[in-house]
């Protein structure tokens, strides 16, 4: 062991106490066995006082129990994203955010306890907040100048301000189309910042599946026709309703179909299907487009990620649609994923719970 080679004045405790993170060791019952200096300082305790106390009591972190339980059950280190792993801690009336890492410890091949490491990410949280606010303000500020542009372009296009040359009309059509694009972008940014700031809430109501699909697909039919793409909907009759926020669910479906249209060549097909399996409805959007390379499949649900690859043209977005779709689906307690094969096509699937009656408003987690 390399630690035995430490020079004289240094030992394991020196190292542990000089870590920037708070570290706890707990036993199988989640009682504290050991903690470092940073943990003592932050949770305003001492080794003697903390010893044998339950970790959840001492730290007052609500979700820590569940996270540790998960590690104990899986017998694997906690693997989750930054957002999922951040916990809120109140101390002297101030809120701190910690990223938490939990590693199981084994003794003679049996689970013995765990090592918990809490990293202060309060500053990151503040930066996130600033970014979210910034996005909201910027997208808001774009709306006013865009009004002048759109009103002007439309009136010029209609010839209400005088005659145009054919070329002039063509240019104005292009400007109009790009205004639409900017407008969509602003809407997406607003939606995202709403979701991130936690002000969005999902009102799950009994929602007719056929209505939902029709509302999403209808506005895209004409465009699909123009592009020479066949747009098929395949719904079994008499599906029970889902528990969903109608407008948000429509948004998700329309976004996935819109995406499929961007990546499918003329002559291709897009199929929208809904199937019930147990207490869930599976919504799929299948295209015969260019497909997504394996290495990019994980990334596509992240914010500001646009995947490039063979045949995937610059699709005129900033990569927010799928991130928002994921947030919306997850807020409903559903899941979303993708299957794809390069050159063959892509299938997006998301699930919504079947309406059970009695569901009311689902508020986002207060944290």
């Amino acid at each position: 062991m390399i630690l035995s080679k430490l020079p004289e004045p240094v030992n394991l405790e020196t190292i542990a106490d000089n870590l920037a993170d708070a570290v706890f060791m707990i036993d199988r019952k989640m009682n504290i066995v050991w903690l470092n200096k940073k943990a003592e300082e932050f949770f305003n305790t001492s080794f003697e006082a903390a010893r044998d106390r339950n970790i959840a009591d001492l730290t007052a972190i609500k979700k820590i129990k569940g996270l540790i339980q998960e590690v104990f059950e899986q017998q694997e280190a906690l693997k989750c994203t930054y957002e999922e792993a951040s916990v809120k801690v109140k101390r002297l009336d101030q809120r701190y955010f910690f990223k938490i890492a939990i590693n199981p410890i084994f003794h003679q091949e049996k689970l013995w306890g765990a090592l918990l490491q809490l990293t202060d990410v309060t500053r990151f949280h503040e930066m996130e907040k600033i970014k979210t606010d910034f996005v909201s303000i910027v997208s808001h500020e774009f709306r006013t100048p865009l009004t002048t542009i759109i009103v002007g372009v439309e009136m010029l296009k209609e010839g209400m301000l005088g005659d145009l040359t054919p070329r002039g009309k063509e240019v104005l059509e292009a400007i109009g189309a790009d205004c639409e694009r900017l407008n969509r972008l602003i809407d997406n940014l607003m939606e995202l910042s709403r979701i991130e700031s936690g002000t969005i809430y999902v009102e799950a109501e009994p929602t007719d599946v056929a209505d939902l699909v029709q509302e999403a697909v209808r506005p895209l039919k004409l465009q699909a026709e123009k592009q020479g793409i066949e747009l098929i909907t395949d719904l079994p009759p008499e599906l029970p309703p889902v528990a969903a926020d109608f407008n948000k669910a429509v948004w998700v479906m329309a976004n996935l179909v819109g995406n499929a249209m961007r990546y499918t060549d003329p002559g291709g097909t897009i199929t929208v299907r809904v199937r019930q399996r147990g207490k869930r409805h599976f919504f799929t959007v299948e295209d015969t487009g260019c497909g997504i390379p394996q290495e990019n499949m994980e990334k596509i649900f992240r914010k500001y990620v646009q995947v490039s690859g063979p045949g995937r043209k610059g699709a005129g977005g900033v990569g927010l649609g799928l991130a928002i779709a994921k947030d919306i689906v997850m807020a409903h307690g559903g899941e979303i994923w993708v299957d794809s094969e390069v050159g063959k096509g892509t299938t997006f699937t998301f699930t919504f719970p079947v309406y059970q009656g009695g569901e009311s408003v689902t508020l986002p987690e207060a944290d």
Binding site: H140, V151, E154, M155, D187
Partner: protein, 122 residues
């Protein structure tokens, strides 16, 4: 008879755009650039309809709504809110204060014409 529309808006370019839009279909347009001037203008001469921005100087749009919709003399004048504020809460607040319609910027001329026609039938 030519219908009179009062536009309360402080962005010069938007004023030009919307004015052009209204001129084209034959409305008579008066423009004021803050909430105080809006209330004065309505007291002096009642318009047939008001296009109201929410973020305006002196007295904001919500307050203008409250005053005009709270006064029986002016409460029947249709007010269309024209704003960059797209949040549901703002829309709800404006509707609660009595706004007849709520349009978020940006919009297309046709959307504005349709609404004007609805509130100002020939």
């Amino acid at each position: 008879m030519t219908k009179k529309v009062l536009m309360v808006e402080d962005e010069k370019n938007v004023i030009l755009g919307v004015r052009t839009c209204l001129d084209a279909v034959g409305y008579q347009v008066e423009v004021v650039e803050d909430g105080e001037a809006a209330l004065d203008a309505v007291r002096k001469e009642q318009p047939d309809l008001i296009l109201l921005d929410l973020l305006i100087p002196k007295i904001d749009g919500f307050e203008v709504l409250k005053v005009l919709k709270g006064d029986p003399v002016t409460s029947s004048i249709p007010i269309i809110v024209l704003t960059a504020k797209a949040e549901d809460e703002d829309r709800q607040r404006a509707m609660d204060l009595g706004a007849d319609n709520y349009m978020t910027k940006p919009f297309k001329p046709q959307e504005l014409w349709d609404r004007l026609k609805h509130y100002l039938p020939d």
